[in-house]
Every structure is written in structure tokens, then in C-alpha cells.
Amino acid sequence: MDKKLRKIVLLFPAFLVLLPLFLIFINSFMDPDEAFLTYNGVLGGKRFSSFVLMPANPSLIPFADLLLYCRSFYTMFWNSAAYTALITAGLLLAAVPTAWAFAKLYFPLKKIIFVIYMVFMMLPFQVTMLSNYFMLDRTGLLHTRWAFILPCIFSTFPVFIMTRFFSDLPDEWIEAARIDGAGSLQLLWHIGIPAGKPGIAAVTVLMLLETWNTVEQPLFFLKDPSLFPLSLFFPALTADNFGSSFAAAIVMLLPPVLVFLCGRQELEAGIGHLGIEK
């Protein structure tokens, strides 16, 4: 294929990714009047929207509206931060030893348990929700913060990913350490965790992003809006809240994008690692 054509084809996905982000950014500086003119049809009018590169009168009013007058936004933001930190920490604690056991230790029924983990991972939320719901209801946890946190901590997806990482560590290391008299726990602590660090880092980044974006668990297991995370903040677009809706989108995507930029190398290496079959 022609070199130039290749370049264009390869840049196309990048363009598609960046265009919506660019527009979110632009729109967050738009005041209501201009929004109504530019996106007339979307906001209840009958004219086609037009594409603008820059608002004619960029204003910070949308951000001021959001950050100064919308208290629920604050609550939801900090809720999200707390949920994300707790869930990611919890699931790492649960998943690391388990993935290590699946990858490197012997115990009966291993294959079957692993396949069950995989099946539960594949199920859409609405199916596992039923089990979650019955248990949360029975234990009285329903509609509390824990109704969101606990089922997420025991998600089987991170275990699956981490098992892949651990199983790629050479068995010889483990045998050598065993001969030197290391116990299972020491093996995990001195070999598994240091050598599996890239994998653990990748899963951490992935789960931080994922948890920040959890929609269904809080939607079904929480009732009190003061417990909602930010992922449930999506007001219907009107001319009045147009700018601030996009300002909210900006604030909402800032933390994950920062995490993403800091952890980009780990994430890329981690996902890439999954792609290398031995």
C-alpha cells in the first residue's frame, strides 16, 4: 500500500478518538445563548447544529455554575474518589494471592474453579446482579455503601488477568526457591509480587479506570442520592445547563485521564503482555 495512504489510515482511529474529546472541551466554555444558536436542533430547535472550532465568547460561567452552585456534584465526586480507592485496594488484596494460586500452586479442582471464575467473568451484570441482590438483601447491606463496594471487590475479572501474568513467570525460579526452603507465602512475597509487578500495575490502572466508570452496581444497589458516585451524573441537555454539562464531563474525565497518563506505560506493557503467548 502507498505510504501516504497508510499514514492516513493509521491516523484515522486517532482522529475519531480525539474529536469527541475536543468537542467536549470546546463546549464546556460555551454560554447558554451561543449553545442555543450553535446546537439549535439538539436543544429543541429545528435547525441543524454547526461545527465550531472555538466558542465566539468563551466563558468560564459553565465551570462556575458547576463548581460553585451544584453541591450534589461535589458529593458525587468525592464519593467516586472514595469508592474507587477502596474497591481497587480491596480487589488487589483479594486477587493477587488467588491469581498466584491459580498460576503456580497445586490444589484439587483447580481447572474447574478457574473455569467457573471465567464463566462468572463473562456474565453480564444483570445476571450476577440477581445473586448479589439476594445476598445483599439477606445480609441487610442493600442500599448501603457496601452494597456497591463488596460485589465489585470480588469481581473475577482481575483474577483472570493476573493469573495470566503470574503463569508466565518461569517455573524454575519457583522450584529453585523451594529447594532453598521458601514457603508458599515467601514465594509470593519474594518472587511473585516483585516479578509480577508490571502485571499488578497494569491491573491497578485498568481497575481504577473501570471502577470510576461503574454505572450499574450503584444504580441498582444504592438508593440514597447522597451515596451516588459521579458516574451517575448525567443531566439531560438543555440550553441552560449545556456548558455546565460539558464542564461536568471534563471534571469527570480528568482523574481517569490523569491516571491513564501516569500509568500509560504500565497499561500498554500490561495489555501487550497479555498478547504474548508462550
Binding site: 490444589f107 493469573t163 454505572v215 441537555l237 491513564f260 504474548i276
Partner: protein, 289 residues
């Protein structure tokens, strides 16, 4: 001795397995039990729920839509991402793949759904940007959000989100293929097409399992996007199994909901087995240890 060792090894499972048992597996027994009872779980009704399930027109519609979506979108994702990955790998001059590319490829993973709802409306509304563009080109407008066409929109969203990291997965697989194989094949007179079908594809096959599992997994997640953007009752062609379960659940129709859950569990189990058989033709070191 061996038994004692296995027992201590099981301790490593404990942190996660206890939670999975408690929140996922054990209550599933409850789900199974309820699927044979009436909605309030007072009376045993045999397979009545299952009979009602398979007669329910909404279940058949939602099942059909969900299958259609998975069968269209996942192969499309796999093929497109492989295409880009091959293009990136075999573009000889490195400049064709700007360093910023992997960054934007993975970026959609970081964008929360709720942050997208507004911009998706701006793009795909009846009077949105896409239709404005089409209008310029003299093409009549389509209601992307609320007509049959919304299926296209959802497939596009799925691709938008997942294309990048599927490309990264394939790239890693491709980088593991020995370049000398291609050189040897070229010497024997195999063209690019032949090289792709006889070297690249067979060697990527084991990776296909992981990629397909992730693709299917993420195809269920697209429901989040549909739900936040289009609400409880989208166009009929987008009424997915997840909508149906949500609605039955909210209406406390536990009999049917639990029966459907069991049917889906069996389908997922069957799918995992199929994928495993399909991609494990080649003997490789299995990673259960």
C-alpha cells in the same frame, strides 16, 4: 503430605474465593431455586417459568437483538483491529506510526460513559453534527438515536471504545512472530496475502482466545453506554437482554428473571467451552499450571 500442601495452597484462594462464593456462587443457588418457584417464592411451579420465558415475545426479541449485536460487533472488532495491527507492524518506516498513536488508542478506556452522553447527543441527534454533515452532502437525515439506525450507533460506540486496546493486543502477538519466517516465505515466493494466511493467522490463533473472551466481555459492557444515552426503553432493535432483565427485575417478576439468568449462565458456560476448544487446537503450555 501432598494433601496438607494442597490444603495450605487453598488458603491463597481464600481471600477471593470466599467473596466470590458469598456474593456470586452461593446466592446463585437461590437464583436456581427461585427459577422453579413463583415470583414471591411461595410455591414450586416446576418448569413453568421456563415455558413462559421461551414464549415471551420480549425475551425472544431481546435474545435475538443481543445475539445479533454480539455476532456483528465482535468479529468486526477482531477483524478491524487485526487489520490495523498488521498495518502498523508491517509499515516499514516507523514514522508512519506516530508516537502519539498508542496513547490515543488506549484513551477511550479512560473516558467515563457519563462524560460521553452529552457529546453523543450533540453528534447523533436528529439535528446533530453528523446529520448536519450528511445534509451538506445532500443525504437525508437519519434519527441515529431513536430508530433502527441506533444499532449502527451502538456498534460504532463499541468499536470506538475497544478498537485501540484490541490493536495493542494483536500488536504484541505480532511482535512475537519470528521475522525470519516471513523472509523464508518470501524467498519461496509467497506473496503478502499468502504470508498473512499461512504464517500470521495460524500463529496468532492461540491469542485469539484471550482476544475473543475480552471482546465478548466488553460487548456486554456496551449496555452501559446504551442505557445512559438512550434510557430504559430504546428503539425496539436495541432492546437488549439486559434491558429486559432490568425491567423484569424492577417489576419484581423474579420467576422469569431468575429463569433467564440460568439460561444465560448456561449459554456463557457453553461459549467459554466453545472458545476454548476452538482456539486450543494447537497444544500449548496451559496456564492453569
Amino acid at each position: 503430605m501432598k494433601n496438607r500442601k494442597a490444603l495450605t495452597n487453598m488458603l491463597f484462594l481464600l481471600p477471593s474465593l470466599s467473596g466470590v462464593l458469598f456474593f456470586y456462587m452461593a446466592p446463585f443457588a437461590d437464583v436456581i431455586k427461585r427459577s422453579f418457584c413463583d415470583d414471591m417464592c411461595r410455591q414450586f411451579v416446576g418448569i413453568e417459568n421456563y415455558a413462559r420465558l421461551f414464549q415471551s415475545r420480549s425475551f425472544l426479541l431481546a435474545g435475538k437483538n443481543t445475539l445479533f449485536f454480539i455476532l456483528c460487533s465482535t468479529p468486526l472488532l477482531l477483524a478491524l483491529s487485526l487489520f490495523f495491527a498488521v498495518l502498523l507492524t508491517f509499515t516499514n518506516d516507523r514514522q508512519a506510526a506516530p508516537p502519539a498513536c498508542p496513547l490515543c488508542y488506549l484513551l477511550p478506556l479512560a473516558i467515563p460513559v457519563a462524560a460521553l452522553t452529552g457529546i453523543w447527543n450533540v453528534f447523533f441527534d436528529k439535528y446533530g453534527l453528523l446529520n448536519a454533515l450528511l445534509d451538506h452532502l445532500g443525504i437525508a437525515k437519519t434519527d441515529w438515536l431513536h430508530s433502527e439506525a441506533s444499532m449502527l450507533l451502538v456498534i460504532a460506540t463499541y468499536l470506538w471504545r475497544n478498537l485501540g486496546y484490541t490493536i495493542i493486543l494483536w500488536l504484541a502477538g505480532l511482535s512475537g512472530i519470528d521475522k525470519r519466517l516471513y523472509e523464508a516465505a518470501a524467498l519461496d515466493g509467497a506473496g503478502q496475502k499468502k504470508q498473512f494466511f499461512y504464517i500470521t493467522l495460524p500463529l496468532l490463533k492461540p491469542l485469539g482466545f484471550t482476544v475473543s473472551v475480552l471482546a465478548v466481555l466488553n460487548s456486554f459492557k456496551v449496555f452501559r453506554d446504551i442505557y445512559l444515552i438512550l434510557g430504559d426503553y430504546p428503539n425496539k432493535s436495541l432492546y437488549m437482554i439486559q434491558h429486559l432483565l432490568n425491567n423484569w427485575f424492577t417489576n419484581m417478576q423474579f420467576g422469569k428473571v431468575t429463569a433467564a439468568a440460568l439460561v444465560i449462565l448456561l449459554a456463557a458456560g457453553w461459549l467459554v467451552l466453545c472458545l476454548q476448544i476452538c482456539f486450543s487446537m494447537q497444544k500449548r503450555r496451559d496456564y492453569y499450571g
